[in-house]
Amino acid sequence: MIPANFAYHSPSTVQEAVALLAELGDEARALAGGHSLIPMMKLRLSAPEALVDLSRIAALKGVREEGAEIVIGAMTTQHQLLQDPILAAKLPLIPETSAVIADPQIRYRGTLGGNVANGDPGNDMPAVMMTLDATYVLAGPNGERSVQAREFYQGAYFTAAEDGEILTTVRVPTPPAGAGFAYEKLKRKVGDYATAAAAVQLTMSAGTVATITIGLTNVSETPLLAEDAMAILAGSRLEPEIVDRAVKAAEAITNPASDGRGPAEYRTAMAGVMLRRALARAAARAQG
């Protein structure tokens, strides 16, 4: 399988990359780790006339703390997220998610930015970023702007990014110390997309849920923020009947396809099971 030909550009700054995309127009694509785009190009489902490879832009790599936020360059790979000491200490939901994405080889190349920006509902990081209330920084011909992860996903492969814009940075509010977290993913095999998956972050205060956010992966056209379930659980002591109600509320917003991963009803039920497991694990990890 050989892709259609294209012109290859390898800029070393964001400004250069943005200028190239503006000059090359609609038929150019930004290339991150390539593990979504290159397979599509080999199948000729995608045939861009030009690729702008972002991998030589040093400014797009790495993890740092800035005030109350953890700032991650879009070209940071899943493998680097797994190894990063700041994330391990302060934002372990991210490496926990990276660990269940694809396989070791793909994690060396696949990037956070690629995972969140291409709008594939099968990707795991988008629901996690909605759970963490992350902000995406986009650079385009008209400068920089920020979009909340919760506002970014509009449909399968449709996002708030405009043509010619590059996702440069993901900014995540540092969770409060003692926050519990979990990402639970059901998949058929290593490397598969989720049949269903759930992300939870919560804080507890004297046995009561003080704050909670919940994201769901691959059970709709976009990642989902399970707001009704969050409202039901906030202030509760995670009593079984309240968890049951919250799980029902989360299941109610799913709309999965029936596909090789199972019929829609099954995938909805598995979203509920993943949510129960993630809630239990996040609560067990929370301090307070």
Binding site: M1, I2, P3, A4, N5, F6, A7, Y8, S10, L31, G34, H35, I38, P39, M41, K42, L51, D53, S55, H79, A102, D103, P104, Q105, I106, Y108, R109, V190, G191
Partner: protein, 166 residues
């Protein structure tokens, strides 16, 4: 489309070339350099038969353009044995523990395991299985591949290899 100039090191040797941007790294290695050890299996990024080591990372070379490897230091299965032909501990392990049947996945398995053992010299069985989870074998059921890697890990650590009881 204009060709791209690349310069890279493969198994210690420097190469320069002009490649079409769409040339996949696996095709460059096999067809231009004649290094046919890395195999083309599924061509979709699943099977790992095309795995090579690039700047300290295991990479599926069917899912990367040669142009992206400009400046890279690459190790393929051809570069794993010592220059005098002495087998690497992993190659010896695969021979001694019957880690292959048809052999199609073996170059990818060995190159991947090579990186795994650099990162984690004494992996548990579970860590080995997770570490090679991007490489498919349709013959062995993985049992003897795991043993082969355990054999190599022990040998590289200078310890005797003890097969786990079954």
């Amino acid at each position: 489309m204009s060709k791209v100039h690349i310069e890279l090191t493969v198994n210690g040797k420097t190469h320069e070339a002009l490649v079409e941007p769409r040339t996949l790294l696996i095709h460059y290695l096999r067809e231009d350099l004649g290094l046919t050890g890395a195999h083309i299996g599924c061509e979709t990024g699943h099977c790992g038969a095309c795995t090579v080591d690039i700047d300290g990372m295991s990479v599926k070379s069917c899912t990367m353009f040669a142009a992206q490897a400009n400046g890279a230091d690459i190790l393929t299965i051809e570069g794993v044995a010592a220059p005098d032909g002495t087998l690497h501990a992993l190659q010896e392990g695969f021979r001694e523990m019957h880690g292959l049947q048809c052999g199609y996945c073996t170059p990818g398995m060995i190159v991947r395991a090579h990186r795994l053992l650099q990162e984690n010299p004494r992996p548990t069985e579970a860590e080995i299985r997770a570490g090679i989870s991007g490489n498919l074998c349709r013959c062995t059921g993985y049992q003897n591949i795991v043993k082969s890697i355990q054999y190599a890990a022990a040998k590289l650590a200078g310890e005797p290899f003890k097969e786990a009881a079954e």
